[in-house]
């Protein structure tokens, strides 16, 4: 019976995707236009042109569009169809990896099936997998990277059973580095996340040092070295390719001015009313605009910070500064602004971080059949689902933090489930922290939705088992 439930959780969304595949249409606007142009460039002029005109956006999704165009030309169909197939395949992989990850957390199969099913039919997940925006290309790799980290962590704590020794540690590290390289090729923020995400391994080195377990230290060092060798090797080569082709030793070319704009906005004098508007902006612009004036809400929108950095860029270009000097100015001034108003910055980033809970029903850039549109855009469904899932995710994160603090068994062999939970939470935390420094747009949350839903499954499982035990007593 349980197996049937799991099978249905995978099959029903699949049937749903077939319907969506034929009846929806991708809408090319804003960033999607840019992606389409880059895809066309790679398809028609090759990767050389992509690098020559760079630094461009992250390469993985751009390559996927070019591949879709190639397939589209071959089968004489619109490239949207191969792209939608890729989207559905990536979502399917995400569901498979999420299921494996939930097994690591010992989540009950029925709960796991419910979460898998929801991931497969969720308006946001299906919408984002069938449009021309890059996020879906990161979904499976993030879950797989977390799963692989847990697997590596577990083997590091079972030396006696791990027969592969140092070579095994190197292999595990290389795979994890490769997975982060994949994530990086969709979301460039992975470069910053990886360094902090691995903190439990650094901590374990310290613990091993205290207990004089030098063999374990050696394995951990090999593991970490393999990760950074593969990851930094890949990233460095890509940056070098950019440097040779267009003179910029960069991965993508749109971060310094954006960072400055957001930091500058957060450093401006705050009033209680402004902070209230920031809180109201968390669920979305529409919630803010119902309670505050357009000017008050506008202050927290991307447009405001875009105006700030656009004005500054104009001012700097009038001064005829070299490009390197402009980047230097933006970075140095961002650090100055950050440190001069540190508490305010952290407080506002904390508010910003809460946006990760309001991910559901943020659907756009896909045209649906009228009957489906009437359901998806209906207020009760949109706001109802959004609120319910925000509360569920928030509750799950609180329960996770509580569980992690209550049972500190991350570093011993008995606490493997606890360690799995730590890494899921760890990724969500650093990913959110990285984006809170900038601005969390709804689509930035989508890659960690599966991890958030895994935490929801874990939390429900915890409550279920706790109340189940009490009921049995």
């Amino acid at each position: 019976m349980r197996k049937l439930v799991i099978k249905l959780a995978f099959i029903i969304p699949f049937v749903w995707w077939i319907y969506l595949f034929f009846t929806t249409q991708i809408i090319i606007v804003f960033d999607a236009e840019g992606y389409e142009q880059i895809g066309k460039m790679i398809h028609l002029q090759g990767w050389h042109e992509f690098f020559r005109t760079g630094p461009q956006r992250e390469p993985f999704f751009s390559g996927l569009i070019a591949l879709s165009m190639l397939l589209g030309d071959f089968f004489k169909i619109s490239y949207f169809y191969p792209l939608k197939i890729f989207g559905a395949a990536f979502l399917f992989l995400t569901m498979v990896f999420s299921y494996r990850l939930m097994k690591k957390l010992s989540v009950h199969q029925v709960i796991a099936a419910a979460v898998i099913f929801y991931l497969g039919v969720s308006p946001v997940m299906t919408n984002s997998s069938m449009r021309l925006w890059s996020e879906f290309a990161a979904y499976p790799w993030i879950v797989l990277a977390v799963w692989w980290t847990i697997r590596s962590w577990q083997s590091m704590n079972h030396w006696a059973e791990d027969r592969q020794g140092f070579w095994g540690a190197a292999r595990k590290g290389a795979v994890l580095g490769g997975l982060f390289l994949l994530i990086m090729s969709v979301k460039a923020s992975a470069e910053a996340i990886l360094i902090v995400y691995l903190w439990p391994f650094y901590w374990q080195i310290l613990i091993s040092y205290r207990s004089k377990n030098y063999i374990q230290i050696k394995r951990l060092v090999i593991f970490l070295a393999a990760i950074f060798l593969v990851f930094e090797g890949g990233v460095g080569s890509y940056k070098l390719a950019n440097y040779i082709s267009n003179g910029h030793y960069q991965y993508t070319g749109r971060w310094d001015w954006a960072l400055w704009g957001y930091v500058k906005r957060r450093s401006e004098p705050m009033t209680f009313r402004k902070v209230e508007a920031a809180v109201a902006f968390v669920p979305g612009m529409d919630v803010c605009s119902k309670n505050f004036t357009p000017e008050e809400c506008n202050f927290w929108s991307t447009r405001y910070s875009d105006d700030l950095d656009a004005d500054k860029s104009k001012e700097l270009s009038n001064k005829k500064l070299a490009e390197g000097e402009t980047t230097k100015f933006f970075v140095q001034d961002s650090i100055r602004l950050l440190t001069s108003s540190l508490f305010q910055q952290v407080g506002l980033m904390f508010i910003e971080a809460h946006k990760i809970f309001f991910w559901e029903s943020q659907i756009a850039f896909v045209a649906y059949p009228n009957w489906l549109e009437a359901i998806l855009y209906s207020n009760p469904l949109m706001y109802g689902l959004k609120t319910i899932l925000a509360l569920l995710c928030w509750g799950a994160v609180v329960i996770t933090i509580f569980c992690l603090c209550q049972r500190k068994r991350w570093f011993n062999q008995k606490g493997q489930e606890q360690a799995a939970l730590l890494f899921v939470f760890n990724f969500i935390f650093w990913y959110t922290a990285a984006y809170s420094l900038y601005f969390i747009v709804d689509r930035y949350i989508f890659p960690i939705v599966s991890l958030l839903m895994i935490l929801v499954a874990f939390a429900i499982n915890q409550i279920w088992s706790t109340f189940g035990k009490k009921a049995k007593r």
Binding site: I27, I28, V29, S301, R303, D307, A367
Partner: protein, 263 residues
């Protein structure tokens, strides 16, 4: 044995159900596919809605067209008029209003040739809209192609004003702009009246350039006393009477008082 039969019966029911549902489902999907394709065009355009009150202010004469405000974001407002109309033209190739408005954006972005191309195409699609003739007449005049300018303006003056007003009322692209006016019918009618007079002045200037002094005099005389730009009328009359083909004064006045307009 019984279980096997049950299983087979179950599969049989499933297959019959699928056979019944599948054809109508496929039919439904094909129909939806076509509808969604059309709908996606409209949705795509709607994502680029610019700040229409700015164009309404240009229509009412409160603001002047500005190159900077034809395509971009200013003070968090989307002045992405060019992008919007370009998208509209890409998706709705036979829409004259979108082409006409794209021509306006192109002109004030310094792309006169592109503007001319769009106006000519808009004229090909719809021959009853006065303002296309008017703007095209000005562009030809600026290019010193007085014959084509005179031809276009002559055709413009033959048009029925009510048809132009009706087009303005019917077209969704024009409506997006004039609905932001405080009193649309009054402004649109008054602008059209002024446009007809300006077209007549420009045509008279074309006559002067070709040495047609009497027709120029007649045309200006036919406008009567209630002229919007009496200065131009006076200069044209003076030039016609003195058989003068061109004057800096007239060029200056035309430049100031007869610009490329929206409607």
């Amino acid at each position: 044995m019984i279980n096997k039969l049950k299983n087979q019966a179950g599969w049989g029911v499933l297959i019959i159900l699928a056979a019944c549902i599948l054809p109508s489902l496929i039919k439904h999907m094909i129909k939806e596919h076509q509808l969604v394709n059309e709908k996606s065009k409209i949705i795509t355009i709607s994502y680029y809605f610019p700040h229409f009150p700015y164009f309404a202010d240009i229509v009412s004469g409160e603001k002047q067209p500005n190159k900077e405000l034809m395509d971009g974001y200013h003070f968090s407002r989307p002045y992405i008029f060019h992008t919007y109309y370009q998208r509209a033209v890409d998706l709705l190739t036979d829409n004259d209003s979108a082409r006409y408005l794209l021509g306006f954006c192109d002109y004030y972005m310094g792309q006169g040739k592109e503007a001319q191309k769009h106006y000519e195409k808009a004229l090909e699609i719809n021959k009853y809209f006065f303002w296309v003739y008017y703007n095209l007449g000005i562009i030809y005049f600026q290019e010193q192609d007085y014959l084509r300018s005179a031809t276009v303006l002559t055709n413009a003056l033959r048009l029925n004003k009510n048809i132009t007003l009706e087009i303005l009322h019917q077209s969704a692209f024009y409506r997006q702009i004039w609905r932001n006016l405080p009193n649309p019918p009054q402004v649109l009618e008054s602008n059209l009246q002024e446009g007809f007079q300006d077209a007549a002045f420009l045509l008279a200037s074309c006559y002067l350039k070709a040495g047609g002094f009497d027709p120029a005099l007649q045309l200006v005389g036919s406008l009567g006393q209630n002229q919007y730009h009496q200065d131009i009328g006076r200069v044209v009359q003076k030039m016609a009477l003195s058989h003068q083909r061109s004057s800096d004064e007239l060029e200056r006045l035309i430049k100031v008082y007869i610009p490329i307009r929206l409607f």
